[in-house]
Amino acid sequence: MFELIGVPPQALFGQLLLGLINGAFYALLSLGLAVIFGMLNVINFAHGAQYMMGAFGAWMMLTYLGIPYWGALLLVPIVIGALGILLERLFLARLYHLDHLYGLLLTFGLALIFEGLFRRQYGSSGLPYTNPIPGGTNLGFMFLPWYRGWVIIVSIVVCLATWFMIEKTKLGSYLRAATENPTLVRAFGINVPRMMTLTYGFGVGLAALAGVLAAPIYSVNPIMGSNLIIVVFAVVVIGGMGSIMGSILTGFGLGIIEGLTKVFYPEASNTVIFVIMAIVLMIRPAGLFGTPR
C-alpha cells in the first residue's frame, strides 16, 4: 500500500517518529506557556531561553558536578523553576497592573540577556551531551531508538499529569478559578499572588524539563530555545491560549503533521505550521481550543 503512494514505510514511520518527538517538545513547552498565560496573563517570551537553560543545566551538572542525566532530570527543573520564581518576584510581579505588553517585553528582554550570557560563555557551536539510553529496537517497520521512545513517554506522562492536576484536583480548581476571576478568589482568602509565583515557577520548570530531555537529542546550544520557541508560539496560537488539553493535543498533532509533510511534500515542512496558523487565525482567531477573552 505504501509503495502505491510511492513512500517506503521506513521513511514514513521514521518521519512520524521525528514528528512525535518534535510534538513532545511542542506539547511540553506550549503547556507551560498556556499555564503561565492563564494564571499570570503574561506571554512568557523567556520560555525558549528557560528551555535552553534546562539543557545547559543538565550539561553543567554533568560536566562540573558529575551529576548524571537521571539526577539532572529531577534537579534541573527544580533549580530553573526556582530561578523563575525569583524572576517573578523581582520583576514580573511589578508589571501585573500594566498592559500585557509589558510582561511580554520584559520576558523578551530577559531571554536576550540569558542567551547572550550563555553565548558569551560557551560560544554558539553547541556542546555534546551523551545519550543516557543508547541503542534501540527494531519494530519491523522501523527502528526505534530507546531514548526517543523515552522522551515521548515522559512528555505524555508529564502532560497528562499536569492536565489531571489542573482539571481534576482541588489545587487545580483554585487555579482555574483564579484564571477566571483572581480578585474574587483572593477575596475568599486564597493567596493569589503566591499562586501566581508558584505557577510561573512550575511553567518554567516544565520548560527546563523539556530542555533536559532535549540535551541528548539536539546539541546543547545557547540559541536552541529561540529556534524552537517561534514554532511553539505558532502552536500556542493554533491551539488557543486558554486550554490545557488543547495545548497538549495541538503540540503532538502539529509535530505529527510536520513529520508527514516532510514525507509527502518536504518543501513545505518548515512552513506548514505557520500556514496552519494563518488559516486558524482567519477562521477561529481564539484558536482551535481557545475561548475568546
Binding site: 482555574r176 478559578a177 477575596a187 482568602g189
Partner: protein, 236 residues
C-alpha cells in the same frame, strides 16, 4: 460589656476608582448577630462599600475595624481569613468549575462552618445539580450557590450584595428564610438591598446611603413611621 462593641465598625470610609472619588466618609457599624442593610438608589456606593470592606477596592482611607483588627491596610485574602464571607452582586460563579467545586472553593476560615449536609438541607437544588457546570445553573440557583459557598467556610460576618436582585418571588422567599435561619445560628449579616419589602422581613436595622455617605439610620421596628422618608430616599 464586650457585646456592645461592634463586630464591624466602619468610620469615615473614603474610596476611589482611579481618580473617581466614590465613597465620601461612610460611617456605620454592626453588632454581632445583627442583620443590617445598606439601602439606597443605584450608584450611591453600596457595592463599593462592600468591596472596600473586602479590600477589593484598594484605594481607600478611614477605618474598618473587624473585631479588634484594623483591616484598612490588609490585603484582600487576609481580610477574608479574619472571618468575612463575601457574596458579590454579580454572584461570581466560576464557569470552569462544577457546582461542587464552586461550593468547596473558598477555604475554611473558622472551624464553625456548615457541613455540606447542612448546606444541602438549606439549598436542596445544589445537591441535585452537583456535577453541572457552575454557570449552567439558573439565576436563582447561582445565587444560592454564591451564598452557600460562604456558609461552609465558617465566616462569621456575611456580606450579601443584592441577593434577591432579578429573582422570582418564591426564590426571594427562600433566600429570606435562609437569612433568618442564619441569623438564628448567630451569624452577622450586612445586606445590600433595593427591595424594601424584602429588607423589612429580615433586617434589624437599616442605613440609608446617598452619594457615598450614610444619611440616615432606621430601626426595623420604626420603619412604618418612616416609610415616606425612606421611599423618598429610594425613589420608589
Amino acid at each position: 460589656m464586650a457585646e456592645m462593641s461592634p463586630l464591624l465598625d466602619v468610620r469615615d470610609l473614603h474610596a476611589w476608582y482611579g481618580e473617581s472619588h466614590v465613597l465620601h466618609g461612610m460611617t456605620f457599624s454592626i453588632r454581632k448577630g445583627e442583620v443590617v442593610t445598606l439601602l439606597g438608589r443605584n450608584g450611591v456606593g453600596k457595592t463599593t462599600t462592600m468591596r472596600s470592606i473586602m479590600g477589593i477596592v484598594q484605594k481607600r482611607t478611614g477605618s474598618i475595624r473587624y473585631g479588634q483588627t484594623e483591616t484598612i491596610g490588609l490585603p484582600s485574602n487576609n481580610i477574608a481569613r479574619l472571618g468575612i464571607g463575601y457574596c458579590p452582586e454579580e454572584r461570581g460563579i466560576f464557569a470552569s468549575l462544577n457546582v461542587t467545586e464552586n461550593l468547596l472553593l473558598p477555604p475554611a476560615v473558622k472551624s464553625s462552618g456548615l457541613s455540606i449536609g447542612e448546606v444541602h438541607t438549606l439549598f436542596p437544588q445544589l445537591k441535585e445539580r452537583a456535577r453541572s457546570q457552575g454557570t449552567k445553573l439558573s439565576g436563582g440557583e447561582q445565587q444560592m450557590l454564591a451564598i452557600a459557598r460562604i456558609l461552609r467556610t465558617g465566616a462569621e460576618l456575611l456580606l450579601l450584595d443584592e441577593p434577591t436582585e432579578g429573582l422570582a418571588p418564591v426564590i426571594v422567599q427562600h433566600i429570606g428564610a435562609v437569612i433568618r435561619d442564619l441569623k438564628k445560628r448567630g451569624l452577622t449579616i450586612l445586606l445590600v438591598e433595593q427591595n424594601l419589602h424584602f429588607a423589612v422581613t429580615v433586617a434589624d436595622r437599616h442605613y440609608l446611603v446617598e452619594h457615598g455617605t450614610v444619611v440616615d439610620e432606621i430601626e426595623n421596628g420604626q420603619l412604618a413611621n418612616n416609610r415616606q422618608r425612606l421611599e423618598a430616599h429610594l425613589g420608589v
